[in-house]
Amino acid sequence: MARATHATVLAVSIALILGIGAGGAIVTSSAIAAPGFTMTIGDLEPYTGDLGPLGAPADKAVKLATAQLNQAAKQAGLAVTFKMITADTRSDPQAALSAARQLIDQGATCLTGPASTPESLAILNSVTKARRIPMLPSASSVKLRTVDDGHTIFRTVPPDNLQARALVLAVRQQLGGAQGKTVAIGYQNSPYGEGLANTFKQSWTAMGGRIQGPFGYDPNQPSYDTEAGKIVAGGPDAFVFADFPDTFGKVSAALLRTGKFSATKLFVSDALAVSPIPATIPAAALNGAHAVNAGSPTGTPEAKAFNTLYLSAPGPKRSALDANNFDSGILCGLAAIAAGANTPSLIAAQLPKLSGPAGTPFTYLQLAAAMRALRAGTQIHYVGVSGPIEFNAQGDTSAGTYDLSTWKNGALVLVRQINAKE
């Protein structure tokens, strides 16, 4: 990596020199001292394969983030432009690896996505760790935090243990305690579903609760009536599902057909916490059900603005994790501004510094001001659309604010917030 090392040294020197001068320069004219560069964000999403439905919304979110970054850079008078390139991981680690190499070869210095843990691990171990290229996957498994990533993985998506913790708290509050209460768990037999179901099971039984199941099912079964019958058998106190909308649409129809299912007893997590209820899920399965949603405050100005921004742009409707992917894109861009160069290792080093609670808070609505502050050497932290972003030593959000919402007339209505900690 001889050439790259030279480039790095050069970039660091330039950044240092300019950094020293920037504080003074910014007062008069911010454009003078700013080093110009084009930063390329590489977006790795599964447009096809099992996770196919996640691809397009995530892609749109990162695209919007890139547009916001460019607009803000112009406003702030910085000679920095942002480019986003994308590649399909096909929900397959081998293809994800090729996709990542392709993006990096085209100049990507910060990766958003991929959406699954196997894909993230393949990319991490084969490409990004050695080259210190930061990656912000939207996969949520606990496994991803235990691997040695050389501080290159950062997640705006809270890991499953927090998610499961928040779910447990929500169910416990609803049932007035966990002791002796039976929760039936259903999950999609996939890395995501199995991981979350088992984490929930452990937390719930640790509190003295009882578990029915967990019942796994394949996304491609011709019917789910038998599984549904087992899940509702004996009338459990609550139902918990770890699934994606496409499979849950089929399973929930089967649940309703048993005649023993009540949506008010149902608790689901981020991937299913979609509002409004998609056409592929029967409304009766979710109206009255509870969703524990990964830190997506709907009431904040930035969340409202993002909602408008997202819906006014062409493309897919709102879906789970779109706000987190948007935040990932913004973080990549801000880290590059903070690094003052389009160099992966420098961007990776800046990413943890953008997390709270230290520094002045900025949302994406004040992106230009945030960029100016970064150029002025001020410490800032980015408050995401998906909630505050506080990376721990593993690059994970260590505490999360979760919204407990209930579906009423097809849309999620916030009930209260739950704070889940490790």
Binding site: Q106, P118, S126, G216
Partner: protein, 317 residues
């Protein structure tokens, strides 16, 4: 429609394509031996690949075997699986054998997915590549001396193609031996071979076992490339892509397999550089559409493959 070809110029791209193409070359060498030289329609090659990869990972992670022993054992275990499945199914004729072997492969996938204590279930297995990583670092240090030190995937590329070269030499050598001639005789006329007093069944079993061993090696390399294994890595599509490689390279040609594999993977990987005015899921559909069209086109217009001999096509189950 625009095409961004900058990545095509990067050595990284070609090393990446080369590794996958090499893995599929080894994988398809086994298919070539079965289909092209023995007349066995093995549709379960991905299953043997899974058996090999999982065996290696489990031996390293759960029984703490040293990596070389685990890799050797993984091929032996896959051969055993080949013998067991072959012993049960090789008396079936072509189409039935295809169905039996693909079902067996799906069954392997089911076990990998649902026998979590052993296989890690959906989460798969991880962390079996420490010894390989050490070897790769050692190789990279040597490569640095010749100015190739920054290609982190180059060691795997070299090892993959070295294994392919060895397997190719071995199989080509075997072709000329009496053993190889019996295999060909079986493919061309099974009844005649049997009439000459050859134990046709035993020869077929050996052919399947060798193919399984090659699949296991390919599986081990795949496991080292993606650094984790989980059930979806070994879907039936892997076998079908292997068949596309096989027919592109031509039936009856061991070396042709490498040509077919490099060609197919270059097309598949380069296809993602073509920026079609389409949503991404549709672009990916175009890619798999190519695999299908390749299979149909070659089988319709050039069934002998790009450089195979036409007479090899007369295959009796």
């Amino acid at each position: 429609m625009t095409i961004d070809l900058t990545a095509l110029a990067a050595p990284d791209f070609w090393i990446g394509v080369g590794i996958v193409a090499g893995i599929y070359s080894i994988f398809s060498l086994g298919l070539q031996l079965n289909v092209g030289f023995t007349g066995i329609l093995n549709f379960g090659q991905a299953g043997f690949m899974a058996v090999g990869a999982y065996a290696m990972a489990i031996l390293i992670l759960k029984l703490h075997w040293p990596a070389p022993a685990a890799i050797a054992a993984s091929t032996a275990i896959a051969m055993l699986a080949g013998i067991v499945i072959g012993a049960a199914s090789l008396r079936l004729s072509g189409d039935y054998l295809a169905m039996a072997t693909i079902a067996a492969a799906q069954l392997v996938g089911g076990v990998a997915q649902n026998a979590a204590p052993l296989t890690g279930g959906n989460q798969g297995l991880l962390g079996y590549d420490a010894a390989w990583a050490a070897l790769a670092r050692w190789m990279l240090a040597r490569l640095r001396a010749v100015g190739l030190g920054d290609q982190s995937q180059l060691p795997l590329f070299i090892v993959t193609w070295a294994i392919f070269g060895l397997a190719l030499a071995l199989l080509t050598g075997l072709r000329g031996t009496p053993w190889g001639r019996v295999l060909r005789a079986i493919r061309e006329d099974e009844a005649a071979a049997a009439a000459l007093g050859k134990n046709v069944f035993a020869y077929k079993l050996q052919s399947l076992a060798i193919a399984a061993a090659l699949a296991a090696l390919a599986g081990d390399l795949l496991a080292l490339n993606i650094t984790l294994i989980y059930p979806q890595s070994f879907s039936a599509d892997v076998t079908f892509i292997g068949f596309a490689v096989l027919v592109l390279g031509g039936l009856g040609s061991f070396a042709g397999v490498a040509l077919g594999s490099v060609l197919l993977w270059t097309v598949l990987e380069a296809a993602s550089f073509v920026r079609l005015p389409l949503a991404a899921d549709k672009v990916a559909a175009v890619q798999m559409l190519i695999v299908g069209l390749v299979l149909i086109a070659v089988m319709v217009w050039r069934p002998e493959g790009l450089r195979g001999k036409r007479e090899e096509m007369v295959l009796r189950g």
